[in-house]
């Protein structure tokens, strides 16, 4: 039935050839529509940069680019002086430490599921990793607020605080206030959140290594670990590094869980377990309540700084993918 109808249709088309205008104009219009839709994505990216610059220009003019980035005072209440250094520092420390914690475990899981584990275990773990990567950041945040932060406070921070105050009181300012919400808590949660993401990207990179590469190493009499060490990891290094870079970008932009756990203290310098703030967390916390134009503009300027950093990280990831991987292909 189906095929007869299809045949009929095809014969119709052949019988009366389509008017040239339908073909030519249709193709032109289609290309233009699709072109405009593609262009609108480019427009979106550029308008994001422009909007952030435009809205932040008041603060940039007032404090100067360098002055704004180097300023360590953030006082929206009285003096209306704004400097981004505490947030730049907070973002950088939390994300660098988070990716440092997350990198090796993530690679380990990726190697395990790609090379060692039996098929069914590797399937389970891989699906689980993807599933966990999809958990919304607020859901992790609520666990952090009500379970993880109090637990860290009881088991780690308070004993550490007592020990330091008994034996090395001079280190107290460096250690900070053991309220549970702070830099260390946020960093650990951040690391936990980016592990599945890094794992998924690393697993994809490892899976792209061709079979011949492994077989050659097997043929030399290598053990399983030596195969991975000699044949798999060097081949996949570009993809793994690019994936780590993308995870780093994700850690920089991670907003909700960090805002819920970092304690939101806008002053500089920071302490290890005491409260701090990052660029996204300060925007989330203060944007809704900002009344002064200069305050709003400063938050937009922080958004601009965040934009520039994310842009750099993403471009570096794209560059690594292209240059350092042997395949030169795309990762995810």
């Amino acid at each position: 039935m189906q095929s007869v109808r299809e045949d009929h249709k095809a014969r119709d088309i052949i019988k009366k050839p389509l008017p040239i205008i339908y073909r030519w104009l249709g193709d032109k219009i289609f290309l233009i529509v699709v072109f405009i839709l593609g262009l609108s994505i480019i427009f979106l990216a550029f308008s994001m940069a422009w909007v952030l610059y435009d809205e932040g220009s008041l603060a940039i003019k007032e404090f100067g680019v360098i002055g704004f980035l180097k300023g360590s005072v953030w006082d929206p209440g009285v003096r209306l002086v704004f400097g981004a250094l505490p947030f730049l520092f907070g973002t950088m420390v939390t994300s660098v430490v988070a990716i440092a914690i997350a990198f090796f475990p993530a690679i380990a899981i990726a190697i395990f599921i790609a090379e060692y584990a039996p098929k069914w275990i590797s399937n389970i773990i891989e699906n689980l990793v993807h599933l966990i990567a999809a958990i919304p950041s607020v859901v992790v945040g609520i666990w952090g607020i009500f379970v993880f932060a109090p637990w860290m406070r009881e088991t780690l921070y308070v004993p550490a605080f007592n020990w330091v105050s008994n034996y090395h009181p001079s280190f107290l300012p460096l250690l900070g206030n053991p309220m549970g919400y702070g830099m260390t808590t946020a960093t650990i949660i951040l690391a936990l959140m980016i592990i599945p993401y890094t794992t998924a990207l690393a697993k994809d990179a490892i899976s792209q290594v061709p079979k011949e590469q492994r077989e050659a190493a097997w043929a030399l009499g290598a053990t399983r670990w030596e195969v991975i060490r000699m044949a798999v990891l060097p081949y996949a290094r570009g993809g793994i590094l690019a994936g780590a870079m993308l995870s780093f970008g994700r850690a920089i932009g991670e907003t909700m869980a960090v805002a819920m756990l970092i304690g939101n203290k806008n002053t500089f310098p920071f302490s290890i377990i005491g409260p701090a703030a990052t660029m996204p967390s300060v925007i989330i916390n203060e944007f809704r309540e900002a009344v002064e134009n200069i305050h709003l503009s400063s938050l937009m300027a922080i958004g601009l700084a965040l934009f520039v950093i994310s842009l750099l990280v993403n471009l570096i990831a794209a560059y690594i993918t292209r240059k350092f991987s042997i395949t030169g292909g795309q990762v995810v």
Binding site: I13, I14, G26, D27, I29, F30, V33, V34, F35, I36, L37, G38, L39, I41, I42, L44, M48, V51, L52, D54, E55, P105, A108, I109, F112, Y116, I125, L131, I132, A133, A134, I135, P136, V138, V139, V140, G141, I142, W143, F146, I195, Y197, G221, R224, W225, G253, T255, M256, A259, M260, I284, F287, R288, G303, L306, S310, N314, L315, A318, V332
Partner: protein, 291 residues
Amino acid sequence: MIKPKKTLRQRNIKDRFMVSLLVLSTIIVMTPLLIIIAYVVINGVSALNWDFFTQELGSPARAMQGKPTGLIHTMIGTAVVDFLALIIAIPVGVGAGIMLSEYPDNKLNPLLRIINDTLNGMPAILKGLLAFALIVKPMGTFSGLSGGFALAFVMIPIIARSTESALMSIPWSIREAGLAIGLPRWRVVLSTVMPAARTGLVTGFLIAFARAVGEAAPLMFTSFGNNYLPNRWIGMLLGPVDTLPQRLYSLAISPYKEWHAMGWAAGIVLLFFVMALFIMARLLTRKKVYY
């Protein structure tokens, strides 16, 4: 690279050692992640009740006096804002995906691809700021519409990328068959390539939707939040609207115990939706997933 000094025995021991290290780190990392899910499920399920799905939130006093409160307005708001975002994002994302896959030698494509990937990597909060500047400021009020646009900005790059790869997976012979019976190029794309790729397309939409449903950051200063149902349905689009992730955040940082419990309940509902969407997408296709 294999040093001849090592005996096979030593090499085998190293191999075993590395395996156990890998297994150990896998277990160590997966455990806390599973604990998070377990906590949310246990606390969330015990906080769920009928009122949660049928009542408005109201003021904090309402919860403290033990009157029935719930998040019906939040769930309706989430549905409105998220589907609005999907309606905005699908044409743009699919269009750009067609551009990338069907016109591979167009001069726009290298730039489009790199910008799309960069946009995908941009923090969601910046997309919220963009929607704030483009829509909230001219409208003069927080609105569901602006929330929809903010989430659409999250979805568009994901849909564009997944559409591209779904269309690319269709062999060129299908297109050639279409061209051979005299179809113009646009009919080839719309009536042969896209139907053949529909599973991949739908998977991409689901992934994008799942990602956007969980995003709170872009909604904080676009749809803003609202403790009540809007008076008229149009208020969903033109006035402040509550959404699940943003409400979850507000509940969690509020000082009221009753609201904390409700936060857990919101957490399990949100988790359930995201997981359901995600599992659906995984079941539809075993292809790679684009975050």
